[in-house]
Amino acid sequence: MFLDRVLSHPLPGERVIFYLRRHWVIFAKEVALYVALAATPVLLAWLMPMYVPTMWEFLWNGALAEALVRLALSLYYLGVWIFFWHAWTDYYLDVWLVTNERVMSLEQRGLFNRRVAELRLSRVQDVAATVKGFFATALDYGEVRIQTAGEEPNFIFHDVSNPNDISQKVLHLADDWRHAHPQPTAQSGPSGP
């Protein structure tokens, strides 16, 4: 089970409530970009014989130009494929995990940069959801910003589905945690005579 792998060192009594990834439309944008990149040489191969036939014939004359075009096309398609693969891995490995004890962020930031951060529910002060833009409003995705106590940086879920529901859930979990772990209230000292 992959959650066991993500939560490799659970706290006593800890259980995963839910986990999140970026909305599918974020990856769909990447797919559209790579499809356009893959289609570009095909489009050129269709248009060039019609509009610049001499150049087209020069490129496929069996000499250096043809060799270079074939090498370049091979590298181009391999590059498009490999970077598409990388984009998918990046999308898939970015996970936010919410348990009954903490919130965890596991983000792949480039090839050799992986960031894992966590925030205890006891440190959650406020949670805000932001849905900005036409597509984000239509498809209901956006940002959830968890404000923390003290100097700790805010915790942000980027481009997640149903941000309003998620912010409410995190707030309820933080409240539940506080009810389950009541803090001792400050005792007032002896009053004066």
Binding site: F2, R5, V6, G62, A63, L64, E66, A67, L68, R70, L71, L73, S74, L75, Y77, L78, G79, W81, I82, F83, W85, H86, W88, T89, Y92, L93, L106, Q108, L111, F112, R114
Partner: protein
């Protein structure tokens, strides 16, 4: 002086870029195996990506076999052609 560059030299340059690309590809695979999750999605996507890479390499091999790599480029002659003086 006529400087000659064999076409095979371009193939060597291509091989360097190919190795870099494959390194990037395998680093993604490494991340997926190290940090990823053995879910059906992960396994399917890994299979598709590997199959796609193999297909592109095979298609590239087929295409590059059509070129006569024993040819060479004469830089000196090329310079004479483009030099207006």
């Amino acid at each position: 002086m006529i400087l000659t560059i064999p076409y095979i030299a371009f193939l060597g340059l291509y091989a360097i870029f190919l190795v870099i690309m494959l390194f990037l590809g395998f680093s993604s695979l490494y991340h997926l195996l190290k940090f990823g999750f053995f879910s059906p999605t992960s396994i399917t996507m890994t299979f598709i990506m590997l199959a796609g890479t193999v297909y592109i390499l095979f298609a590239s091999y087929q295409e590059l076999m059509m070129v006569d790599w024993s040819q060479s480029l004469d830089i000196g002659l090329l310079w004479q052609d483009i030099n207006p003086l």
